[in-house]
């Protein structure tokens, strides 16, 4: 099925046109700023959790460390919403780029790992004395996944093959 009519329909919506064409800083620039701040909170907090699981901050009780987790989820939701808005502005630009799906897959796995680390280690009662190797590996892989997601996200600005359906 050719998705172009769907892209075209989204592109012609009032919201899409406003996001793309408004000269207001609240349109596209502000959404991009939000996306960067959300990324900082999500990947940054997740990285700190990963380092704790890997053994860098042993002096911090796991349960205490878990108190920072809500900031990761605030970052996640800021980026889910701002990401959808960026998609509405240029639906075909990302959705026709394989790299976009690779980025989403990296984020999906990294977020799943963060949830598994939360349940299995960070919020586990009683606190595990030794962190099982399975979770340490998960923490290490998720650090690499965040860097990969950030890199592929940035490269989306250079690898798209089309901007709008009209073109």
């Amino acid at each position: 099925m050719n998705p172009d009519p769907i892209f075209f329909w989204i592109e012609r919506s009032a919201l899409s046109i406003w996001l793309r064409e408004s000269t207001s800083l609240l349109a596209f620039p502000f959404i991009l700023i939000l996306h960067a701040i959300g990324m900082g909170f999500l990947a940054g907090t997740a990285a700190a959790m990963g380092l704790r699981v890997l053994g860098l901050l042993r002096a911090i009780p796991l349960g205490a460390m878990a108190r920072f987790l809500p900031f990761a989820w605030v970052g996640f939701w800021i980026n889910a919403v701002s990401g959808v808005l960026l998609l509405i502005a240029y639906p075909g630009k990302a959705l026709t780029n394989p790299l976009f799906y690779f980025k989403l897959a990296c984020i999906a796995v990294a977020v799943a790992f963060l949830r598994m680390l939360t349940a299995g280690v960070l919020r586990k009662t009683p606190e595990p004395v030794a962190i099982p190797m399975k979770f340490r590996r998960m923490a290490g892989v998720s650090l690499a996944l965040w860097v990969t997601a950030i890199t592929s996200g940035r490269l989306l600005a250079y690898t798209y093959t089309r901007l709008l359906t009209d073109n």
Binding site: A36, M39, G40, F41, A43, G44, T45, A46, A47, A48, L51, L56, L57, A59, I60, P61, G63, A64, M65, R67, F68, F71, W146, V147, I150, T151, G153, R154, L155, A157, Y158
Partner: protein, 135 residues
Amino acid sequence: MMAEFLPWLEQWLKSTPASAFITLNTWVWSTCESIHFTGLCMLYGSVVLFDLRLLGVAKQVPLAALHRLIPMGVAGFAMNVGTGFMFLAGTPDQYLYNIAFRLKVLCLAIAGINILIFYLFLFRKVRSVAPGEDQ
């Protein structure tokens, strides 16, 4: 003075090897951007979490222990200064005369002063705060 200094700085930046490196190789700019974003996340994961703890979030976390994350923030900041210089050297005219860039540099300067004050006068007191002591 500014009227003479900025064009001079612009010319100097353009004459650096970094400028030629980033403008003549298309992959360098995008790679620097990815590093710049990763550095930003490293700052959030260390300095922002530490600041949140100082503001009263997660009081069960011992401050001295959380401070062990700061080297990650320093590494992130160093990555961002390095890649930031690359952008500046690549297209100095895009930044030097831009109000947003000037605001960013001003914020960085204030943040630097803030760090200096923190380590000179406050860190010794903060360091000894035990978990949950600062109710």
